[in-house]
């Protein structure tokens, strides 16, 4: 099953400037590994080996994965995944 993933500007050099990429995965960690196969280097940018990096937020269907199951969060068909850098206050 394919899932579309929104890629933030700082990572687009790795995706050949694509803002949205397609992937196939059942959990978030699978998704990150799949992205890394297609766009080598992307994994270490967003994942420190244990957790999502401190300054990255990943949303599945609008929900921060830290409220779900973190890297084990399930990805279902047609899920909408966004990778978003942390933002300052307002």
């Amino acid at each position: 099953m394919t899932t579309s993933v929104k890629i933030p500007a700082p990572l687009r050099k790795l995706t050949g400037n694509q803002a949205v990429v397609e992937t196939e995965a059942e959990t978030l960690i699978d998704l990150i590994s799949d992205l890394d196969r297609k766009y080598p280097g992307i994994k270490e940018r967003i994942y420190d080996g244990k957790e999502i990096r401190r300054f990255i937020n990943i949303f599945v269907n609008g929900e921060d994965v830290r409220f779900k199951d973190g890297i084990k969060t399930k990805i279902t068909k047609g899920s909408d995944v966004s990778i978003v850098p942390a933002i300052a206050g307002g």
Partner: protein, 410 residues
């Protein structure tokens, strides 16, 4: 030679050009402005600052713009008031209030926006934008109008009326998003990726955030060129606390004040306290929360600078504390009744936490303590409308007043 040498990742130290970028491409750490301090040290002095403008721009040498034509409505250089009545009540002998509720749009955000818009125009932008919990919205709208550039302001739709009107009056493009601030922020980060705008708290953030340093500079200057012993600061994203710290440290490094030994304490509302929770659990992971508090200007559930604020509070020997909605209202009333300052809900949080820290001995009675009041109560009137004195109605005769007098005098 320019004073900005570039941008630098706060995490891994990678260097970047001083453009409208904000995260490290490698580790996603926040980018910060890197200055040519040697050059700044050669030309800055107390005397030069003291003869500068009565605004935050008296510290021009330490702000991230190259132009001298700054876009300013006179923000900053706000009063530092000795709080004798409140101090007496709380048993604190040297308590001061930094009253930033009296800025051009009535919050400390004017400091950051003046810097951000000056830099944005310097970088060639013709549109300024922001995601806001309210105060930033008012400020971006006003400064956009004054600078004559387009403004797009994104806010959660359920903000206080005073903040919606306080932004709307300047006729920006005002967008009310059905969601909380963290959702507005996320939306804006996607918009910032596809529209060529200067989002003050996104792609202009490294410059924007530097404006808050001036609160640290001013307090040190107003105390006669020294750092306070203890500060109490409201925490939303955590950015303000980290920048007040940076301001004092820069003054120290440049030899303008002595060694900084200030304790940094942070205040959050109970209904949105991810940074205080991390402090209390002694965990460097700041877990996001879903906010539920009347202090909407502090309702950031996923604080970008939470980790850094946590670290400064820990390392400086400061504390972190929360107050509930009721205590927030009590805090607003207490400041008004003792010091004549009407603050918004964020100020109620700060005063409430100050009270808790004083009562539990975590602030010592002889510590020179500064509490930061960052916003104005007229913008969040809903919070206290049930708690204020009501007018006693009388007919316009002396007799009527004399009859009422024994019942009303305090």
């Amino acid at each position: 030679m320019e004073k900005i040498s570039g941008l630098k990742c706060r995490e891994c130290g990678r260097k970047y050009q001083a453009k409208a970028i904000y995260v490290c491409e490698f580790c996603f750490g926040p980018l910060e402005v890197d200055y040519n301090y040697k050059q700044i040290k050669a030309r800055i002095s107390k005397e030069k600052i003291e003869t500068g403008p009565n605004s935050e721009w008296r510290y021009w040498d330490l702000l991230p713009v190259e132009t001298k034509s700054v876009i300013s409505l006179g923000e900053g250089f706000t009063p530092l008031l000795p709080a004798r009545n409140l101090g007496k009540l709380l048993g604190l002998e040297k308590l001061y209030i930094k009253n930033d509720a009296v800025n051009p749009t009535y919050s400390f955000k004017d400091r950051v926006v003046s810097v951000a818009i000056t830099r944005a125009v310097e970088l060639g932008f013709d549109t300024i934008a922001c995601a806001s919990t309210g105060n930033l919205a008012c400020s971006v709208a006003a400064y956009g109008a004054y600078a004559g550039i387009k403004a797009f302001v994104f806010i959660p739709i359920d903000l206080e009326k005073g903040k919606i009107i306080g932004a709307g009056i300047y006729q920006p493009n005002l967008i009310g998003v059905e969601g909380d601030y963290d959702q507005v922020n996320r939306l804006c980060s996607e918009i910032a990726d596809s529209f060529p705008w200067a989002f003050v708290n996104i792609n202009i953030r490294p410059y924007y955030a530097e404006g808050s340093k001036t609160l640290g500079f001013e307090v040190a200057e107003q105390l006669g060129w020294k750092a306070p012993d203890h500060v109490v600061i409201p925490l939303a994203s955590g950015c303000l606390l980290t920048k007040i710290y940076k301001g004092l440290k820069e003054f120290d490094m440049l030899g303008l004040i002595g060694k900084v030994r200030t304790k940094f304490s942070g205040a959050q509302p109970e209904g949105c306290s991810p940074i205080v929770t991390a402090y209390k659990e002694n965990s460097e992971i700041v877990k996001p929360v879903k906010p539920n508090t009347i202090a909407k200007s502090l309702a950031i559930g996923n604080p970008a600078d939470g980790y850094y604020a946590w670290k400064i509070m820990k390392e400086s020997g400061g504390f972190a504390e929360t107050v509930n909605d009721e205590e927030i209202i009590e805090g607003i009333k207490l400041l008004a009744e003792t010091e004549g300052i009407f603050t918004e809900t964020a100020g109620g949080v700060t005063v409430g936490v100050l009270k808790k820290l004083a009562q539990t001995g975590r602030i010592k009675k002889d510590e020179l303590t500064v509490v930061f009041i960052t916003g104005n109560g007229l913008k969040t009137q809903e919070a206290v409308s049930e708690a204020v004195s009501r007018p006693k109605k009388i007919v316009p005769t002396l007799k009527a007043f004399k009859e009422e007098f024994p019942r009303i005098k305090k």
